[in-house]
Symmetry: C2
Subunit: 275 residues, 2 copies
């Protein structure tokens, strides 16, 4: 197949490398930065630099841009996708992106399937990309109204790239779950390092500090967009979190050891049960 990758950042670059390393498909790379394209070519992460005519021959298009740019790209390029072409994205939020792309796809002969590879790291850009980024990761698919065959193609590609789990859901379920599993840890990490004690943590900290603060090394522009594109779900989940912090704080404030042990034990049981 001819596979086009739009945007060779951390995710797009890693998809390109993983496809080249694990499949025989032809990978065509698009990026606004010429040096990135040259690096990708020289490293063998792509077979050729993209052009409109190459895009018109693509069987699968991974649009690996920020949410608003994904919509803009598909709006502008919809007339160039060939009939039956599978267009997918990698955005960390789905309601806004899937809704708009599903609408656009109704007027053109391409197929849209929402996608979200659950992998990342604290660095961004093509230099940080790697073929093994998705190894054992989860790949969430939001098929919407797409035919089964399109989803099957993406799953087959994902498995060849090393993804460990495939999860299907609606865009609403995706955004609700992602607010919890991904956005809240980023809110927390940032709020945590804002404490004046952060400045002096060295020598007083160990694994638990390191783990909670890790994702504070955040891509601020990207995550601001992701948070704002999921405002209601994130607000609900933040309220849930603050409510639970307050339950623990209240037990401490009241010096209520029995209540505190009960709360911590229930947390332990949940962690042991759900992993």
């Amino acid at each position: 197949m001819q596979i086009a990758i739009i945007g060779l950042g951390l995710i797009g670059g890693s998809l390109a490398k993983a496809l080249k390393e694990n499949t025989e498909h032809t990978v065509i790379g698009f990026d606004r930065d010429e040096n990135t394209l040259l690096d990708a070519l020289s490293l063998g992460a792509i077979d050729s630099v993209g052009s409109t005519s190459l895009l018109e021959n693509a069987d699968v298009v991974y649009v690996c841009l920020y949410p608003a740019d994904v919509v803009r790209f598909v709006e502008e390029n919809a007339p160039h996708f060939k009939e039956g072409c599978i267009v997918t994205d990698v955005c960390g939020i789905k309601n806004q992106v899937c809704g708009k792309l599903t609408e656009i796809a109704k007027n053109y002969p391409f197929v849209y399937v929402g996608g979200h590879p659950m992998a990342g790291k604290e660095r961004s850009g093509f230099d940080a990309s790697e073929a093994s980024l998705f190894y054992n990761a989860s790949y969430i698919l939001v098929p919407g109204e797409a035919p089964q065959s399109a989803t099957d193609t993406l799953v087959s590609l994902a498995k060849s790239m090393g993804f460990g789990t495939i999860k299907y859901c609606t865009q609403q379920k995706h955004d609700r779950m992602i607010a919890y599993t991904s956005q809240i840890p980023h809110v927390l990490a940032c709020a945590y390092v804002m404490s004046p004690r952060c400045d002096e943590h060295s020598g007083f900290s160990a694994g638990s500090y390191r783990d909670v603060s890790r994702v504070a090394r955040i891509n601020a522009e990207l995550w601001a967009d992701l948070f704002l594109a999921n405002r209601e779900e994130l607000a609900d989940e933040t309220e849930e979190l603050v409510r639970n912090i307050e339950r623990i704080r209240a037990a401490v404030a009241k010096n209520d050891r029995a209540e505190l042990v009960a709360l911590l034990s229930s947390a332990r049981e949940k962690k042991e049960k759900f992993g």
Copy 2:
């Protein structure tokens, strides 16, 4: 030297194993559980099972019990420590323990130095202990009024066990910093997994979920004691955290992208600067 270890749990067991593996000192083990003592003996983690006469010959005593039990043990055994014996503990809070033990030490010829090896894991007990637990970890010492020679002895032992950093401070500073570096991550992890979304996280989660939730596999009894023994500092730090979460939430609620990017960028800068 003759080194006594009181309580062969995760920390005491690891100290015993690390001392036996890295030094020529004699290690004497005390534990209320006979099977633990037999295991420790057969694994070579201790040279002999403790007795009052062996305690009376000890040059260094590591009391590796829960905070209240540390105080009780030292109260009861103060008459048995030999002149110049160095008594230390491994508690995660210091105000309560150091205050009381410093008082007791004034009436006896032994020397007390507060200690806190910054290492742990999600399992507890002797079975979870290991000689390498302290490798590259930080060892916080609260010397109080102890002579330099006593602190030097503990530092020398710590270095031979592989500790990477030695930090000296007052008990007040210790408890303030620990509320932030260690207690807040445990509060957070427990509050985080209390969300109903935790039950369905599988397939939707990746590294950031795993890292924030890790220490929810908590020793509830121990941490309830640690939280309650540091109520004021923990309350202050919890307020600081909730205030910062609310700043991020407010920017999201107002759809204020500039403010949100500024907050996340400031968090990133702090993480990059302070690690």
